[in-house]
Symmetry: C2
Subunit: 729 residues, 2 copies
């Protein structure tokens, strides 16, 4: 693992997002989603199913307090099974001492506090922070003395805690609690919740592990793996990394843990054991290092793969990395929608088999696309390759954003690529596909997940690698590196090691018109700060020109289409030597590296060609035979009924040159949201006159039309109607 | 309703099917299906789920006998709910006094005895008849003194009989019992089972009806309606027709009966009422005369519509007929697969919305196609229109026959139009689609339904209308009519009224090479027998020549493409006059009528052009956009992997002339079954070299191929593989 370019996200405190596009999204989250979400998890949203989240914490906290007041240590009641989702018999009057909601309902809070943390970094808000602190007090009051913190078992009975890892999401609750606590700590410096999370994690370290007497299980819904790594990375306690590694090591070995624990439960209850486990649903069918095909519940899968990439990086685990590589190839070559969505089937919210990517029955859950972004960044941390950035960007700009309405007030859980509203209403096979975004969900994973992703988006844009790694006490590379994975206008700074114990600050101001234009200007400020800047050359660009000036020396470089070659301008040195006054430029696997010693006034300018691309699928994707999709930059386009009338399937594009000639781009501000739309020459099939369902075929009768295509993420903001990403060619 | 051409099927006793195609199918039923079925309903098939059918009859019969031996009238035990499908806890040792299997398990016997009856008519078999008589003894021994005969309630408790018409299929059992009993009586003249069926029907007449104190319900699964009409037609007892009419009249009126009985059951059991009824699933959402759209469970629907057509005919019910017309138009214009299958969704085995006819997730249950044949013939009985015959023929030759393997040993329940075996195995959304025919089914409706349809196929080929209707005592038309709806080689005779109380016999010998050729020769024998012969001009024929000789006078006639005009040859008289020596020819709505006074040596010869047709869908069928299907005569063709390799979706036909030029037909005897296959010029997409799932589109790279297409009904007789009816154009 020599000379590896491992990196970590740049601290969000060092970045301010000024980008028009992303600032708007972050403001939606701040002004719409976070306040709404707080109301929701306090059961105050009219017409929405109650969350019971904060109520459960209060019930658990009251139970704890009452016990303490009596002077006794807390002893939980004996366990009563209350189902995967427990609802009060009388919805108006839930009983005071009972747990209600899904078994994972605690995470409603954890996701909210995480989004709050990120948001406070970008936009301080004392009132929100006070609300958050009060919520944290409520949550922490529910924690047991031993650190355990999951209200489902605290309320229902601790004697059965950790006896159903497969279904009962305790370790999922741990993971989200850690994520939320770390974010809030990083934003505010307040560590009350972080300590609570550490105490729960410590309890899990005592409960799970290879040592005799400890449980050998692992999460039924993954997330704890990557959360524990994150905890380790902020407090440097190796035990958390070890526990993450243990969970990964245990997974998928025989005898299968989920079957064993089910047998134990049956025996305990005096019931006959009936196998009800599909281990592949939980990615627990094979040891993780032997997995090669992405299977099962898509969100679980990419959360797992994220944790695997983290552990591979921190532990130098080559077999784990190889599994990540195989799984990445499998997903991106066979199981990825062109919108960056994953999970082709609603049955199990799961991956289907290779190349089975139907548009109209797609599941493509918003959370799965978010998980894919998590994973992609962790692959980038493991090794900077443009392909990871391409997929991360694709998922983010398309499926993740499609999950939220342009006004931030309604959400998609499922993100189909083709919608016929009549089918959603009348065809039970498509009942999971909604023709309008929903206000909220009983299982509220997607909206808060969008909130935490959007508000932390900058941490996906920038990662860094320092020449002086703290854990080795030495230089492992000639100079620090800052990677630009996504392009968004922002102001940031990086601390650069110049000598052992000595750092300098490099300030950067990034300006770009992404995703609508491919121009990126980076202005640098510093006092002769050596640093290597790495710019992702997007796969969608047919050519990138990069110009820079560093200490008065300027250069230009051209990256060819496909990003496979660098043509240096004569004045450039295309090699890796570095000196105080020199720069070096190189290109490797999707990244353009410009190394220099930067001072005030230095500047880098990227101009990425951004043509409209006409894409087709691998022909093994049966549903897309004879169809194309149009993209421009990272944006995938779609036809909507509002622009093109009903029966979109009668339309086709008419692009004989297979390039953008004939296509017009137009900047519009409709829907109070600036965006670039496409006008594409097309044909529309004349409706048949015959009353016969089947009749002799003949030459096609079509008329010319100009098709209007809008960004996929912006669909369904003008009422119910048909939509289609793939169009006949 | 003046001058209506109502008709009834020609008595099967008067027809002997000599047709090579159908004789083979009937022999499969006789030698394979009927014996296997007998083993199945006696639980003697290794590896198949037990039917429990005959066992239940024996249990019920023993209970009856024991009571009688004790001298007491039979008193059933108090009702115990045993579920929709009751299975023994120990499969090896079912308890002796319990009912097992589906609530409708009695019908396994009824369907078998019906097929046995038809088969005995074509092929006397004393041993089979003895087995049947013994089975009838067992069944009749289970009947209660009051006539009730459904072992589910006889065994489980009569106090709850007829309290769950929606789900518990008692009236469905009645219907099948009647159908089976009538068929066996007509075949053998033995009336023991017929009397049992009449007694059960009589009991239902006493239980249900408009009179005060009688129940107002109707069947949850329709069939009793058409069965009661059939019973009325053989024994001329109007009460059965009235009960059928009552069931139809009641259906769909509010308050909904199925909801009312559910409330009553809940009240009886002291449970809160929770609505669990989807009335449209049972076609009980609207009064039947107000229904216009085919909805719900497809088999139920077409069984209902069959009964409606029967009652419309016998009662002269114009509103009922109008509903039949609307429903027919709805099904055939919006909800019919090109294979004659219906029921586009497996969820509820139901009709989907209009034009939603996906090929790969199709349900298209074999039984639904059979029900469509039932309905079509009844529409023909109501009014002879070529369109009904076309659909009847289409369903019969394609979906019905596809339901059974060419060796008669395995069966499809679901008949998709496109199959990718990998999807059936790995995509739970297609788990209802089997990639191989199954030996038998727990819910064994399709195989026995095929058996009764195939063995009675001649009753769909010929119907007759007599000039002297018994119920009016007068002449209602100038001459008797015999309709040819389907063409199959056969020897038949018709009794023709020549005067009140006087009949003559017209013997006919039909020879044809259908479905592979369009030539039909009818040789007549008789002694100056006046009769009008009506020949269906198939919608698939581009032109039909008919020649005849009658008493030495010959004529020729040509029906144009589309069947819309008659061109008489000069020597023909194109009018309706009739005399002892003359003939008259006319054409009306798909039928060519040739009237004459026939004697030995007279002959009619039809020559129907049978080109390969290249058909496309109404463009509202989204799944078929840009695709065509090939048919020839009544046969629909498909591509199979065995002939064309994997990845059938890469193939397209290359038929620039939109006609059969370039297509070769070939007669093959492979699979031990003579049939005509097609060789069609086509192109096959070159597989992509790129490892990219999505890549820039460009001109299509294809190579020439000769596609081989086989009849759809013959698919899946060479192992597992891909299949597709619709092919890209």
């Amino acid at each position: 693992m020599e000379n590896r370019e491992f990196s970590t996200p740049l601290d969000l405190k060092q970045i301010r997002v000024t980008d028009a596009f992303w600032h708007r999204e972050q403001e939606l989250v701040r002004t719409q989603v976070i306040p709404y979400q707080w109301e929701a998890l306090n059961d105050r949203v009219e017409g929405a199913a109650p969350s019971y989240c904060m109520r459960n914490f209060k019930v658990a906290g009251r139970m704890m307090r009452e016990k303490k007041e009596k002077g006794a240590a807390y002893v939980a009641p004996a366990y009563t099974f209350r189902g995967f989702q427990a609802l009060p018999e009388d919805p108006e009057h839930p009983e005071g001492d009972k747990f209600y909601g899904f078994v994972f309902q605690d995470t409603d809070f954890s996701k909210w506090i995480e989004a709050v943390g990120y948001s406070l970094l970008q936009h301080p808000d004392p009132e929100l922070e006070r609300t958050a602190d009060e919520a944290i007090d409520i949550v922490c009051a529910a924690q047991l003395e031993n650190g355990y913190l999951d209200t489902y078992y605290i309320i229902n009975g601790m004697d059965r805690a950790f006896t159903n890892l497969r279904d009962h999401h305790e370790l999922y609750c741990l993971g989200h609690l850690v994520e939320g606590a770390v974010a809030y700590y990083q934003a505010t410096g307040k560590d009350k919740l972080l300590h609570a999370a550490e105490r729960f994690a410590d309890y899990c370290c005592e409960t799970f592990g290879p040592e005799p007497g400890k449980r050998k299980g692992y999460p039924g819904h993954e997330i704890a793996e990557m959360a524990l790594v994150r905890l380790c990375e902020i407090d440097n306690q190796e035990k958390y990394l070890k526990l993450a590694g243990f969970f990964l090591d245990q997974r998928g070995h025989q005898p299968y843990y989920f079957e064993e624990e089910e047998k134990e439960r049956a025996a305990h209850d005096g019931q006959p054991y009936q196998k009800s486990t599909d281990n592949s649903y939980h990615q627990a069918h094979l040891p993780v290092r032997e997995q090669s095909e992405a299977v099962g519940h898509a969100v679980r899968a990419v959360y797992l793969y994220s944790g695997m990439a983290d552990v591979a990086r921190l532990c130098g685990d080559e077999a784990m990395e190889a599994a990540c590589d195989r799984l990445w190839d499998n997903v991106t070559r066979e199981k990825l929608y062109i919108t960056g969505g994953i999970g082709a089937t609603h049955i199990g919210e799961a991956f289907s088999f290779g190349y089975d990517l139907p548009g109209d029955t797609a599941y493509s859950e918003t959370c799965a696309a978010i998980g894919l972004v998590f994973w992609a960044r962790r692959m980038l941390q493991l090794k900077p390759r443009g392909k990871y950035g391409d997929v991360m960007e694709l998922a983010l700009y398309n499926t993740v954003l499609a999950g939220m309405a342009l006004d931030g007030k309604s959400f998609f859980y499922v993100n189909p690529l083709e919608v016929l509203p009549r089918a959603c209403h009348r065809d039970a096979r498509k009942s999971h596909v909604k023709s309008l975004r929903q206000k909220w969900f009983g299982c509220a994973c997607c909206p808060p997940n969008i909130a935490r992703m959007v508000s932390s988006v900058a941490s996906y844009a920038y990662t860094e690698a320092d020449r002086y790694p703290l854990d080795q006490g030495g230089w492992n590379q000639p100079v620090d590196t800052l990677w630009f994975h996504l392009y968004m206008s922002s102001v940031l700074s990086k601390q650069v090691w110049v000598d052992k114990g000595e750092k300098k600050t490099l300030d950067l101001q990034v300006e770009t018109d992404m995703p609508w234009g491919g121009r990126v200007k980076v202005q640098l400020r510093g006092d002769r700060v050596p640093c290597r800047l790495a710019f992702r050359i997007p796969g969608w660009s047919t050519g990138v020109k990069a110009g820079y000036s560093c200490g008065g020396i300027g250069g230009q470089v051209q990256v060819n289409a496909g990003g496979l070659a660098v043509k240096s301008a004569p004045e450039m040195r295309d090699r890796e030597d570095v000196s105080d006054r020199h720069t070096a430029v190189s290109y490797r696997e999707g990244y353009l590296y410009i190394e220099g010693v930067w001072s005030d006034g230095d500047e880098i300018l990227l101009e990425m060609e951004m043509p409209v691309r006409i894409l087709e699928s691998d022909p093994r994707v049966r549903e897309n035979m004879g169809k194309v999709a149009l993209t421009r930059g990272p944006i995938v386009y779609c036809l909507e009924e509002a622009d093109n009338g009903k029966d979109l399937h009668l339309c086709r594009v008419d692009l004989p040159g297979w390039d953008e000639s004939g296509i017009e781009t137009e900047v519009t501000e409709e829907l109070d949201h600036p965006m670039t739309v496409l006008k594409v020459p097309g044909k529309r099939l004349a409706a048949a006159e015959s009353a016969e369902l089947y009749h002799p075929a003949g030459p096609v009768r079509e008329r010319d039309v100009m098709l209007r295509m809008i960004p996929y993420y912006a669909w369904n903001n003008r009422g119910e109607g048909e939509m289609s990403v793939w169009v006949r060619r």
